[in-house]
Amino acid sequence: MPTFNQIKSILSQKTVGIAGAGGLGSNCAVSLIRSGVGKLIVADYDRVSPENLNRQFYFRKQAGMKKVDALRENLHKICPGCMLQMHDTWVTRENIDLLFSVCDVVVEAFDDAEQKSMLIDHMLTNLPNIPLVAASGMAGYGRTALLKIIQSGNLYVCGDEESEISEENPPLAPRVSIVANMQADIVLQLLLKDAF
């Protein structure tokens, strides 16, 4: 196993895209920055709301802020020197290439299944050489052993593939963070696989 310094020196050269800065995106970003990833490109149009605090990496006093601004603030508290390119925008087929074509890996961190499908479809069609780490199924609590990783070529999907969020099955911090960190762990594997 390489030392943390060796790992960091490889990761510091890498750029990771994150589509969405909610429960998946904010937690995944924190783990990637803690691990030493050099640059993140994050896109989200939303604002922090008090209801987000049950799972997203934001603080009470950040309510009302743009998520990309609040996340920049929080990530810089962990790593003042990290490079962050934050985009206050809704991710669409029209701007995906512009946002993410320079990335070594992209993380799908949307809430809505249609948005997930749109990004997966577009990335696999237009940017097929960039690995995409997506997530599907993480609502509720328990059933941790059902969380898995499906791989098909350059596409990875983390989650249980069935637990959809609803009033009766809300997203909660533990399972959302577990899946966000499964995504972050796959990103590290992909970024480090040729180095050691």
């Binding site: 949307f110 299944a113 993480m138 070529g153 989650g159």
Partner: protein, 67 residues
């Protein structure tokens, strides 16, 4: 034919089947899915016309909201 469906071996009586037919037989009724045949993306409009053959690796991945 013998194929791999979502990482499990599956046997079908016929020599080939369309992706739509396999979804019907195996009761995949999800609204949002990603279909990969031998690691190639198959778009929704190709489900009827794409034939799965012996030895193929088919993945039907279910996308649900949450994140």
């Amino acid at each position: 034919m013998k194929i791999t469906l979502n990482n499990r071996p599956e046997n079908f009586e016929t020599d080939s089947l369309s992706i739509s037919k396999i979804m019907e037989v195996k009761s995949f009724h999800f609204k949002m899915i990603v279909v990969r045949l031998n690691d190639t993306l198959i778009k929704r409009e190709q489900y009827e016309t794409t034939q799965v053959k012996d030895g193929d690796d088919l993945k039907i991945i279910h996308l649900v909201s949450g994140g």
